[in-house]
Amino acid sequence: MLNTELCACGSGLRGIRCCGADFTAVPDATSLEILNPKAVEATNLFNEKNFRDAEALALKILDIAPNQRAALRVLFEIRRAENKPGVAEVLARRLASIPAESNAVAAAAQLHLAQMLVAQSRHADAEPAAQAAVKLSPRDANTHHVMGVVLTETGQVHAGERHYRTAMRLLGRDDGTVLANLAWNLKLQGRLDEAAGIYEQALANRPDNPRGIGGFAQVEAGRGRLPQAMVLLDQALATWPNDRTLRLLRALADLQDEQFDAVIARLNGPLEGLMPPELAARGQAAQRLGHITDAVAAFATAKQMQRERYGQRYEPAAFLQKAEACKAFFTADQMLNLPRAASGDGPQPVFLLGFARSGTSLLEQMLAKLPGFAAADGLAPVSALVSMATKLAANGAGADYPQVLANIAVGDGQMIPSQLREQYMANLSIAGVIQPDTKFIIDRAPDNHWHLGLIKLLFPDAPVIHLLRHPLDIMLSNFGQDRRLEANCGVSMVATARHYDVSMSMIKHYRGQLALRYLPVRYEPLVSDPLAVLQNIVKFIGAAPVKLPSKAALRINAFQPSPRIPAHVAVQQPLHERGAYRYRAYEAALPQLFNEVRPILEGWIEALGYGASV
């Protein structure tokens, strides 16, 4: 009885010739040669755009030999053209996994897979395939280019830069796309002047690159050259009037230029017709015009769209589990038994804590401009040490982090905190953060609050500065942003409030169980009297007296140009107090706005001293 059931993946093949096939039982290379003429015919039909016959022939060939590469390739191209990403991925993975007659063929299959995943913005998923492609074909510029994209977009910017530069060397000529990608990489590293130079080269080589122009405009804006950015975007929009990314960037330039009506005019029409980042920009413009109801409508539509159209959900489970594990392990009693890293002479890290939109990047930006201070810019976070810590401490026996750290109390484990500390400093050096005159490194990695226990083992006396802000202002500010936050908690104000509670509870636990050198700093005085706050912080850190900028310079946020600009603050704005207690105006206009989050946040509002009297 013939099994005719089609494969559930949607390839069109029978299951036993597709996902259910036994690939140890397929024909070998010699036997496959019999099918070669038919495979050539299928490829030709495909190239002649006779897709129906090409598909039929490919299916027949694959029913005989599920590993016939050319037929598989034809079927893959057809399914991809049909916009069936699921089955296309299955076929691409199969092409990458079946034995190939040469490394070049194998590399091409891996590269296809990687490129397909990159096109879906699944950069982390693409990493293994990109790596395989580079290893199979190390002299191929394309493999290095794709590897560069994958690394850059997964936060490994320095490694990404190296692969882009290798790709260019192998090409032996300028390539507009590679150059533009390299420039974006440099932008992410905060190397804005270099990025601008490369963008000019890239666009001269390949002017028809709207993404490149958009990136260049962002670099220009970051360098304080807003008019030039606007000219670039206007010219590009003349060529590509329907490009929504360019339109959004142009609107954001207007927003920065405080042309709020212009923002709304550019991003006009019914809210449902806009995308979340556009809605965020439009809402922010409305906010600045004092149109609170319009702003909330835009923000709320964006959040609803994220949930309903893009199916995004708050996913706290893994984080709640992590919180439980950290709370159970990092106790005062446990920590008393664990060795600490030996203190080093080099630069000293200063860790910033704070929920998204609490002012950590503002403070980092201000501190990074003081002599002797450098911003780590999330390039080498403590969280990156967790897998190394787990490996070092595991000692043969399998255990999970953080429980595995119990092993460092035993034998050679005593050395592990020092090793991890050295690795942390080495990562910062590689990232170019540490300069000869660097004395303090500002580490504002957004997940620092999870790692205070590890930080205590590595840097027992490191200053920990916690940015506090009225929780309702934090909710409001995140409500108006289109950013991806931990556990996807930005999808609704309630989710943000819940996750705020998770994060704050974690910090509360660590503060109770660890002897931390902890300083709470409030956002509100930071924007109203930055000089006093900075003085206090510098004193707390124990830095030798530094000459602080004048009040006026602080206010316009323009003192001491820094050689590196943290990527996330590439757009610098004058300091303002608009965000302090902004929630009040919103609550006055829309009394129900915080109804759902107040019960979640009440305890924190009280504990932080933002209670009734404020």
Binding site: D461, I507, K508, H509, Y510, A515, K539, G542, A607, G609
Partner: protein, 468 residues
């Protein structure tokens, strides 16, 4: 049976239900309460009350359960109701008296206590409960008088003897107080504190070297406080063996005259007599005027002092006065509820611009640090403190310790380190009455509650005292 509904007798039974005798259920609630199965007891009691809402004894029992769960207002409401329903049951006002005391309603407590005695003039426990209230109100003579009434009914009532001792000692009547104080080892909670031996308790007469066993009994604070009398004992019975817990060894080994220290009973060796440290004041006839070594008798280890000094230099912001703080005691202490505070209650101190607070708090209560976002920088040193040797060395590096009445207060006093101790209205006997100093420790200043259970003005005074 806990899964079944409790029915009033009028209701017909439904399938699967059975009628149970109320007396059985009541004794079940009672035994759950005694086994500390409070959730189950509350649950069962509320199901019974749904059927018999006016049953005075169920109301009373459930009140006790609620009280023990910290639901004081509900507890009082139920127990008052039970008294209204059954005004002549002596047990109710007797227990009510204790609940009112716990709730800080001392006038109501006195009234209840008197009513209980009225209803049961032969009940020694009713007298004892009333004596406790008089102590709380600092009516010490009355407390002693009522204890005597209880003891007339039941001469071996250890708790009444002990309460009498505390009232006498607090009032400064030391000689008589020490005699009653001897009853402390008959208390239930004193079990296991003394060695199992047929040797006599020491009477203060000379013994050969190494033949006296000293026992570091009771709390750490007591051991430090009475440890000063070890040199006195060693003059009469040289080189005594000291049995103490490992936590205390780093401290007590500094005291001269000790022959050997042991941490396990089987290591004590052969001895002729034993004496708990808390028995020494009686033998030495200690009174407020003759307390030895009030200037201090412990010295922190200089290396540790240097280590913690460097640590504090790193952790405490420059230019701030360092004030050490302890706000909670050992939760198993019998008066912990009365003495233990919340960190936030030190608000007037924490509001000062000129200080940094160095908390040397240990134990579960350190979690409160996590909720502190106040003005004064707070350095939570507790987690890094391994033992009392660390605590002593840290205190040497601060200007002053502010603390509740707990062991760290004694550590500071015994080191001659300035300390401010905040005390409840009716303090432990050792702090005596009506003075802001103490013969036990010259470096200590006392801050007493002016009214029972009110800490607000105490904290204000502590904070202001830093100005002088």
């Amino acid at each position: 049976m806990s899964g079944q509904a409790i029915l009033s007798s009028e209701e017909p039974l439904k399938p699967g239900q059975q009628r149970v005798a109320l007396s059985d259920v009541i004794s079940q609630i009672s035994s759950m309460e005694q086994q500390n199965r409070l959730d189950e007891a509350e649950n069962l009691a509320s199901r019974v009350l749904a059927a018999v809402p006016e049953h005075p004894h169920v109301l009373h029992l459930s009140g006790i359960v609620l009280y023990r769960k910290g639901k004081i207002d509900e507890a009082i409401a139920r127990m008052e109701k039970s008294i209204a329903l059954a005004p002549n049951v002596a047990l109710y006002p007797r227990n009510m008296c204790e609940i009112y005391r716990g709730a800080g309603r001392l006038d109501d407590a006195v009234a209840s206590g008197k009513r209980a005695i009225e209803l049961a003039p032969d009940d020694s426990r009713a007298y004892f409960n009333l004596a406790l209230i008089h102590y709380e109100r600092l009516e010490l003579e009355e407390s002693v008088r009522i204890c005597d009434r209880a003891l007339a009914l039941d001469p071996n009532f250890a708790e009444a003897h002990f309460e009498r001792a505390e009232a006498l000692l607090l009032g400064g009547n030391m000689a008589e107080g020490w005699e009653s104080y001897e009853w402390r080892f008959k208390l239930k909670q004193a079990e296991g504190m003394l060695p199992k031996t047929d040797k006599p308790q020491w009477d203060g007469t000379p013994l050969p070297a190494g033949k006296l066993l000293l026992v570091a009994d009771q709390g750490f604070g007591d051991c430090i406080q009475f440890g000063r009398l070890i040199p006195w004992a060693a003059k009469i019975a040289p080189a005594p063996v000291l049995a103490c817990s490992g936590d205390l060894t780093p401290i007590l080994r500094q005291i001269p005259g000790i022959g050997r220290m042991v941490t396990r009973w089987e290591l004590t060796g052969d001895f002729d007599a034993y004496i708990p440290l808390s028995g020494l004041p009686r033998l030495a006839k200690i009174a407020p005027g003759n307390v030895p070594l009030g200037e201090g008798y412990l010295t922190p280890n200089p290396e540790l002092v240097a280590h913690w000094g460097a640590q504090l230099d790193r952790l405490v912001p420059k230019g701030k006065r360092r004030i050490a703080l302890v706000w909670a005691g050992r939760p198993t202490h019998k008066n912990d509820k009365k003495r233990t505070l919340k960190l936030a209650q030190f608000a007037p101190l924490l509001a000062r611009e000129d200080i940094a607070v160095v908390t040397v708090q240990k134990g579960e209560q350190i979690t409160q640090v996590g909720s502190y976002y106040g003005n004064a920088p707070l350095i939570n040193l507790g987690p890094d403190i391994a033992d009392f040797a660390d605590t002593m060395a840290i205190l040497k590096n601060v200007e002053r310790l502010v603390t509740i009445d707990t062991s760290v207060a004694h550590v500071a006093g015994a080191c001659g380190i300035p300390a401010s101790i905040v005390l409840p209205y009716a303090p432990d006997w050792r702090w005596l009455l009506g003075r802001d100093d103490t013969p036990w420790y010259q470096s200590v200043r006392l801050f007493r509650q002016q009214r029972p259970y009110e800490w607000g003005d105490v904290m204000e005074r502590v904070a202001r005292s830093l100005d002088t």
